[in-house]
Symmetry: D3
Subunit: 317 residues, 6 copies
Amino acid sequence: MSDLDLLTVGEALVSLRSSGPLAVGGPLTMHLAGAESNVAIGLARLGHRAAWVGRVSDDELGEFVLRQLRAEGVDTAGVRRDPDRPSGLMFLERRTADVSRVRYHRAGSAGSALCVDDLRAPLAAGPRLLHLTGITPALSDSARDAATWAVRTAAESGIPVCLDVNYRSGLWSREQARSTLAPLAGYASVVVASADELDLVAEPDADENAAVADLLRGGVRTVLVKLGADGARAHTADGVRHVPAVPVTAVDTVGAGDAFTAGYLSGHLDGLDLVDRLRRAVALGAFAVAGHGDWEGLPRRDELSLITGSAAGTTLR
Amino acid sequence: MSDLDLLTVGEALVSLRSSGPLAVGGPLTMHLAGAESNVAIGLARLGHRAAWVGRVSDDELGEFVLRQLRAEGVDTAGVRRDPDRPSGLMFLERRTADVSRVRYHRAGSAGSALCVDDLRAPLAAGPRLLHLTGITPALSDSARDAATWAVRTAAESGIPVCLDVNYRSGLWSREQARSTLAPLAGYASVVVASADELDLVAEPDADENAAVADLLRGGVRTVLVKLGADGARAHTADGVRHVPAVPVTAVDTVGAGDAFTAGYLSGHLDGLDLVDRLRRAVALGAFAVAGHGDWEGLPRRDELSLITGSAAGTTLR
Amino acid sequence: MSDLDLLTVGEALVSLRSSGPLAVGGPLTMHLAGAESNVAIGLARLGHRAAWVGRVSDDELGEFVLRQLRAEGVDTAGVRRDPDRPSGLMFLERRTADVSRVRYHRAGSAGSALCVDDLRAPLAAGPRLLHLTGITPALSDSARDAATWAVRTAAESGIPVCLDVNYRSGLWSREQARSTLAPLAGYASVVVASADELDLVAEPDADENAAVADLLRGGVRTVLVKLGADGARAHTADGVRHVPAVPVTAVDTVGAGDAFTAGYLSGHLDGLDLVDRLRRAVALGAFAVAGHGDWEGLPRRDELSLITGSAAGTTLR
Amino acid sequence: MSDLDLLTVGEALVSLRSSGPLAVGGPLTMHLAGAESNVAIGLARLGHRAAWVGRVSDDELGEFVLRQLRAEGVDTAGVRRDPDRPSGLMFLERRTADVSRVRYHRAGSAGSALCVDDLRAPLAAGPRLLHLTGITPALSDSARDAATWAVRTAAESGIPVCLDVNYRSGLWSREQARSTLAPLAGYASVVVASADELDLVAEPDADENAAVADLLRGGVRTVLVKLGADGARAHTADGVRHVPAVPVTAVDTVGAGDAFTAGYLSGHLDGLDLVDRLRRAVALGAFAVAGHGDWEGLPRRDELSLITGSAAGTTLR
Amino acid sequence: MSDLDLLTVGEALVSLRSSGPLAVGGPLTMHLAGAESNVAIGLARLGHRAAWVGRVSDDELGEFVLRQLRAEGVDTAGVRRDPDRPSGLMFLERRTADVSRVRYHRAGSAGSALCVDDLRAPLAAGPRLLHLTGITPALSDSARDAATWAVRTAAESGIPVCLDVNYRSGLWSREQARSTLAPLAGYASVVVASADELDLVAEPDADENAAVADLLRGGVRTVLVKLGADGARAHTADGVRHVPAVPVTAVDTVGAGDAFTAGYLSGHLDGLDLVDRLRRAVALGAFAVAGHGDWEGLPRRDELSLITGSAAGTTLR
Amino acid sequence: MSDLDLLTVGEALVSLRSSGPLAVGGPLTMHLAGAESNVAIGLARLGHRAAWVGRVSDDELGEFVLRQLRAEGVDTAGVRRDPDRPSGLMFLERRTADVSRVRYHRAGSAGSALCVDDLRAPLAAGPRLLHLTGITPALSDSARDAATWAVRTAAESGIPVCLDVNYRSGLWSREQARSTLAPLAGYASVVVASADELDLVAEPDADENAAVADLLRGGVRTVLVKLGADGARAHTADGVRHVPAVPVTAVDTVGAGDAFTAGYLSGHLDGLDLVDRLRRAVALGAFAVAGHGDWEGLPRRDELSLITGSAAGTTLR
């Protein structure tokens, strides 16, 4: 795991997707899911060396998770197999053409048993970046301790930390989230959030400008605000920049935020300036929503030009 | 079948759906279809006690129909198995992205052999509402007699009748339809029609206002005019009310009219006022068109809020 | 339709196949079915010029039937489109691994409206052989007249007739079948039957030898008795010959009898002697049962050696 | 729930089936699973009035379970929706043509929260028979208490109890199972077990005869020993009877034991003598293994003759 | 092949379609593909007598190609089976909702071995029209010679030639294409091109008007410019006519250009005037894009009205 | 690629599988195929460090190959992407239940362009074993040179070489194969062959004993003869040992020989004695034939006991 560009930490789930109302039954498809593993895949597809660390079950579902990560070229050397706990699952139901619903089966999962010891070796190897989301500290006490330890340790070692707020109302309340995430944000170099998540890493009910000011004051270098179809904004000490979204036919919005983050971090690793990082971020977001699956549609480096240009349609060569 | 909220009468078909041109072949999926059973399912999903009565074949296809109705919680105690006649079938062909075609195989079917005796016991049990469509009297002489008897008997017993015109040009001419349906409408409390069906329960070539005036004069309390993407209008003695459609991504318009009627009748049973009944009606229509299948996408009561609110997209909990 | 090797006459159905219990629902696949069209396809695959004549509906299902026949190279120039009647259907349900069930929806079908006029031109073109089955005369009065006329006319014109008894208990009683089929057999050159069908073209309750003696006395040249896994017997004036079945893994027995007949007639057209005709007949039967579908597994001429030789397994070239 | 023939109590799961190695991924199909609900379905298909009682989650998966039970005509009036716990799941992996593997995700499930109060009303309604398995008391303390209470209460009320040992090594040890199940067996009228489960309701390491003697002495009237492909034995005070299995092509052995029990109990309800009950039991077992799914292949009453007769193959009518 | 309305010459490929990113794997569907065979199918569906000539492999893939062509009623009597060369393949990957990618495996294919001798007999039979595309001369030297010979011979025999430029950058450069295609255009009566292909049959960098002037001067009677969603323009000596596209929901743009050409040629064969030919052309283009597959959605003559009228939606008869 | 247990060299193909006759069409599934990559996967699944080296296309199909190998944990660091050549393909057609057919599209493929330079680094890294098959030298001159160089270099470096004869009649004649393979066998430590392949690495028409004597005399230590359902024989200087096959339900024999070799080499790496190596070899062969796909059914180490024990059937835990 030496020479890593990115280390991500979290829980990887087996996502079971329906193409219609779940109550009626019908076939499900199996997918790897997980906000952090999505980011790792996004970077690996672009040729960066990315690792994912976490716990997976010691059965076929854990094996499935590992096969998918390895297939994508994500380093899994630091993954722990938990012999006592099952894989976390999620059902992703296509309820209508416009409405999808998620139901988690992750209480007591292998992934939620993440602890500090799981992270010592991977972090000691010295990755160039560390990425976490606000989901991990919500999984369990030990996972919260692990996330906190990792963020603090990285910051102390000079490894820039990226934190995506990623609030999940099914896991904890906004108050619980704020009390855990706001301190974490203090160690982060980059904070990613949607507009309605910003006050979870700042004062309650703070508006965007106030929350950003808080964060920048606390040491964050860049605050990225995801705006969906409206693109994204980046706040830094130098001010704010906005880029619009890339217009595509959206078929599946799950994973778009993770793709956005992966694009931004890829631009960072490539030494791009802020606006070009944002452009890559929204480009990856566009790939994510224009294809089915959380990450299956993400581009390799040679594919980046496919949808940033204006000409869509079939390419006949 | 005591304490029923709604009794529906009609023919339930086995619908065989293709996802492309039928002449090219390919897999078909089996579905329960039928305007009246769609309405019964719509109400049962919302928690009302709904029954469907009709004849089904005494073979695997009849069993399929019953399994689907039972699965949806529709009371099937009054259904008759016909040992001598096959199930009615329909092929629903997705010819292009915009054009679907229906071809019926229902001549001589079990469902078309419906007769007065099939309806005596269910109606005697005293449902709160009776619903029929203009399809049933077009199926056979005995079915027409049964529909006429049911509507008249219900009206005489003080059971409000809802009649959906539902003109099918493959079954009879407009003239034949008018001569049968106009008298039926005289017994109805609620008449449902699309704009071009109104003159089938009024004078030939009557425009909407003239037709409505006729119907109200004849004793109808409410005339509902389905306007598709333009929503719906309700005419009563107090005047006319309009509600717009709920904007959704439409993927399958089949069953939208039945969903509309189910929503209206549910509002009636819940004691809503006219505009709120219409709102529920168009909401159910929106669910119907936003999902595949005639009725598979209809909401349970706890799902009603899913698409009437403004926020679409994936719900992550 | 000149220079035809074989003319077949009958009803072609759209077969809807389930892979499990039909009452539970699930996807269905569309197939062309029909005893006579199966024989035509069997011969066309082997390079003979074969035609099928009958009536098909003037809609997408009729188009489907024609597409399949044309794809297989069967001459369809004599087929009539019936604008007023639907396609005959059959549901083929895989009830258990060992038990399949068939349910017909063919009453009043286009195919059952076959009449003498439909056959005049095709027969006048002078095919080398005419093939019919005992299903056709059971479909309707006009179909029975057409079958009778065709057999008699062919016999009078010196065109050898092959008659497969193919008794369907759902269409008529054994007594009805015997009264129609026994006279037809008098015009046949080749009669094909399973052991329990022989007395339908002879005296009631006649055993195999008695029935065969009757038939040979009446002018039949060859009586073929299909024995399933035990192969087949051929009776002629010269005595009886038996060939065993070709051992294969059987996955679908539907269509095996038609494949057998096609193999025999192909051997006849190729001038093979009796035992080699039987060998080709049982070889085609083996292809039919070793593949899914009524006729999809039948061999082209260059494939005949695939399962008559002893070496099974994957061929790596 | 009045006039019930059979009341079953247990946990119903959502079974997710793969058709190949799970680690490789691929589509999964959703099925209702559960030893007790399988028995209820088996009896309902044969026309008996059967109910299933248990807890299901208050979400789409719980709705799926209810839809399946209702579709099969199983009375679900006594089912409780648990708003706080998820559905129990199982993955059924087809690892090789001969080996399937099951992995449960049922810890903390709604079904495992079953308690005595859930059963009071259903049992007070006075079913003719009560059926439980040894799985339920292994799920949780409250479920064990509920099972014990139900068996004792039924026995005291004169309702015959059927207990299927159904040992699951993933849920408890043999010692734990024995200490719970042996007392339960004391209340049972019928005990069902495979040969290696008998000592779980008798002395440790008891052989079949010793265990049976123990059970009969303790008040059990009939001990049924399932022998798989060797059929089954029934021990009573009058001695032992054996019936062979019905030979079929086995494609899926899951659910065979439950089908066996359903057949036996159906024979009991129909007043058959012991050997005929066993014959129906092995017939239902044969249906179960000859079809895919736990219960999908079970017969309706009119289908019982399909595989007890000797002639297999396609039925052409 | 007598009395042919249209002869087309080219390579028919087996197209393997994915519904998502190809690198991830998943099922592929097999389709017949080929610009010229698409045109032949388009005309055959409308009732014209159309033939396709080319070489196909002498194996199962060649057989697949022939089955599809025969199914569509395209005359295949002139097709040659090449025993030494494989079928040409193409992978059609649905990369995102908006971007499809094509990868050819056609080097050294049977189709690319087309030569003059393959075309002598078909052309000598005297079709009413000859259609070629700019793909064929790019396949090989012998194919180029064959295309050139055919176009010249047809022109000399008074058979009008239609040439669709159809530039494929994967097969040759624009310069190579121009040097071959510009002379071919000199023999054509109708030239079809997209706006950016026009200069491949005229002077380099010529704009539309200049290129058209060149072509008309060289003897071309009609130049058709395909404008996609903007419809099409036709240039003749009498000036230029434009027709807008027919608005439909586009799901698959592959094959739209071939459908356009088929519609135009059908109008020519039916004696329509220029604008009505263009209307049929854009109507067929609309059918092509509104359905999946290169040609599967093309209309029969009785279906032409389905999408030219204004009323879309389900047709209930 | 340091500390490798096994290095394999060859061509990896994309296999397109049908479930029925290919000429009829239908869906295909994509699989990784290749005798050498199968062996690498077999060892990687058992926990050995295995690498595969070869050339793959620089497009989506090459990416697919790499994703599959990485998913299985096979080291792909030495793989070369060839920008100029397409992926080799094979169609694997399930013609009947017993007969599968393979058709290669591999002429001019990236894999066939393998050359000595591709192998220098991987071999220099010093794997514990080198495995090749007789397919690679048949692909091209450069591939033959590369295979010869690798075998000779390994032998000279003290790396034991395993050579599987794997004769493919579609690639070369027996005489061509013998002239190339017999010298290669001289460098091998282990030679694997089916009985009818032995004389390709010995004298023409040599029987098994003569061929083995030749090979042992030439320096081979172990000659393994694959006997399919009869198990396998191992010849060494100490004599001959035989082990029977493990009885399983065979559903797909493709890949069985490669699985056998993987099992043998795994036993070798684990230090098992000859008979235990053979036992593992036939066990892996059994896994391969009991599952669909070339390698998908191969066991992980913890799964080895699943089918070597006697008890088959569903494992309920």
